[in-house]
Symmetry: C2
Subunit: 104 residues, 2 copies
């Protein structure tokens, strides 16, 4: 169940930090560790969880593995959220503005 993998992946603050880092630009696993007190295997394990949740994609480049945000995971969350659109009417206008921005 992909939805479960998704929310479980995001339930860990360290993984959300990693994801956020990648959102600012793709990086290899070593660079991701910069500024985070985290062992190499821990990072590797977190990335595996994020991969399984489709929040992140890997791409081997020589002996490095470059990681980047996988839009698929975000789209799945957006899809989940959309099911409950009846409950965020106050945010509709804000979202519309957002989409208008994205047109340009």
């Amino acid at each position: 169940m992909i939805e479960n993998d998704l929310f479980k992946a995001l339930a860990d603050p360290t993984r959300r930090t990693i994801f956020e880092k990648l959102a600012h630009g793709s990086m290899n696993a070593s660079d991701l560790r910069q500024g985070m007190t985290i062992s190499q295997p821990a990072m590797s394990q977190h990335l595996a969880v994020l991969r399984k949740a489709r929040l992140v994609r890997e791409e081997r480049q020589g002996r490095f593995v470059n990681y980047q945000v996988d839009p698929e995971g975000l789209a799945l969350i957006a899809g989940w959220l959309a099911k409950y659109r009846a409950y965020w009417p106050a945010r509709i206008d804000a979202l519309k503005d957002l989409l208008k921005d994205m047109d340009q």
Copy 2:
């Protein structure tokens, strides 16, 4: 950290089921148990977690406690998601259709 409470709350499939039930209409804790093989304390504990995450609101009515979706939690997720809007361009059209539906 509310964001952490949120994703942790949604990481459990039983809680997502409870939330989905409430999205279809507010209910008290007993009615929520209908059709779910789950003890009364377990339900109570799950509701406490959902409450803490602002995904759900309680409202005492006599000796029952009526539960309903709290839009605040959903809005927070939408806010989190919005941070990464750069990564879901492929879904823009689908979202637009969604918003068009919401206009009516």
